[in-house]
Assembly symmetry: C2
Homo-oligomer: 259 residues x 2
């Protein structure tokens, strides 16, 4: 079997994991949640986050037992470098939306090999669409292949932002807002990445952990989008970063404004 054929099989397998986990999320959607605060009352974790992560970790362990797994809720490994196979998972991204809205949340999985992004997946759970693929496969929204979105400038697009960063005017974000066509706040990094992948927003800026951007970075770069720190330097895959994902022209516009 060629490497590409193997990747296509893995792609189908991962989409299956996400669909299976989604089924239980949807089946239990209106059950009472067990909600705990992590760093603050706006940073939550639920029994569903934890259950999803356990199922995804188990699926990855069975499929790729030598790999390291970096997961938001800690049921993976303590990962200190990107050597070999590293799976990065966010079992429920946008937990506050999940708790308050039962909408606008995502699940994400990615596979890096020796630091290189190989496969990335973002599932919009309520719309039941998996955006996924990688450099060898292209990017697909379920069965539909995505083309690179138009390379629009900051001025011509809508920019996704973090609410706290906008309020605190970090990186002159209020001036960047004024220079754009407007800002939007969704509250889920996964859904924001989807907006950029599909050309509905020309960018997104937020303070993110590796599991928030690992999958989106692979998909975005495959679609000729830029993913860096807000100052234009490379992101660190093992720590938090202020991340900018955007079209190339918007990237130039924003990096010029904050320097």
């Amino acid at each position: 079997m060629s490497e590409r054929e193997k990747l296509k099989q893995t792609d189908q397998l991962i989409r299956g994991w996400l669909s299976d986990v989604r089924q239980t999320v949807i089946a239990d959607l209106h059950d009472p949640l067990s909600v705990s605060e992590k760093t603050s009352r706006k940073d939550l974790v639920t029994n569903i986050d934890k259950a999803n992560e356990k199922r995804l970790v188990a699926a990855i362990r069975a499929f790729d037992p030598q790999a390291k797994i970096l997961g938001e809720e800690g049921s993976g490994d303590h990962v200190t470098d990107m050597k070999g196979h590293v799976w990065i998972i966010d079992p429920l991204d946008g937990t506050l939306n999940f708790v308050k809205q039962r909408d606008n949340f995502a699940m994400m999985i990615s596979l890096y090999i020796d630091g290189v992004g190989v496969l990335g997946y973002i599932m919009d759970v309520m719309r039941n669409i998996i955006y996924g693929g990688g450099p060898k496969l292209g990017v697909f929204a379920n069965e539909r292949r995505l083309e690179s979105p138009p390379n629009i400038s900051l001025r011509d697009g809508l920019l996704g932002v973090s609410g706290p960063m906008l309020v605190h005017d970090k990186y002159h974000l209020q001036a960047i807002d004024a220079a754009s066509s407007g800002v939007r706040i969704i509250g889920s990094a996964g859904i924001e990445f989807i907006q950029v992948l599909t050309g509905k927003q020309n960018g997104y800026i937020s303070h993110l952990m590796p599991w928030d951007f690992a999958a989106g970075k692979i998909l975005a770069e495959q679609l000729e989008l830029c993913v860096t720190k807000v100052d234009g330097t490379p992101v660190d895959m093992l720590s938090s970063n202020d991340v900018l994902v955007s079209t190339k022209d918007t990237h130039k516009d924003i990096v010029n404004m904050i320097r």
Copy 2:
């Protein structure tokens, strides 16, 4: 025929108008748009806004020839009071989203008789859901009856806001943001009202014209939500207002914070 039966007939008629107009919007969705700026480059109007309004005005004129019509794009009447039958329409709400995203936009219609809200409709065009009804009919999302959302406090919910009002900290909106569970920015008053009607947000604050809030006000009040100016005083149906729609408890929390 009873008054309620007549209203149910009118309800079905209005839902039909919206569905008919939606069909042409969807059919032409990827055609080139003719876009003009109104007050600024962030305040747009397209050929679709204008065509939708003409069709809705024609339908209303045929059905209720004596009525006055207040429409965003000016093909209605110059309305100076709320006496008699007044129809208020927004043929395409969230035009910037429509232009940039082809998503997250709405159409709205309402009927006021002698200043009293009788029927209101908000259509989420891309999701093909009409939220509509009134005091005599209840509120339905297509065929599904909506119950009043839980009366949650500011602290426990997500608040929809206007981006410019947040950045300029109008009404201490940054402190209100901090006191809530978080803010969201969608960019369409119609879609924001839907979020509040369905309990996905506990409120929404923005500077709105009558066609932005006339339909939502009828539906919100029917679901035991409050619709006032941000300072708690009644809205003026014939001019712009800084509007707050929210649960009762969130309304108290916000009005107390801004006084």
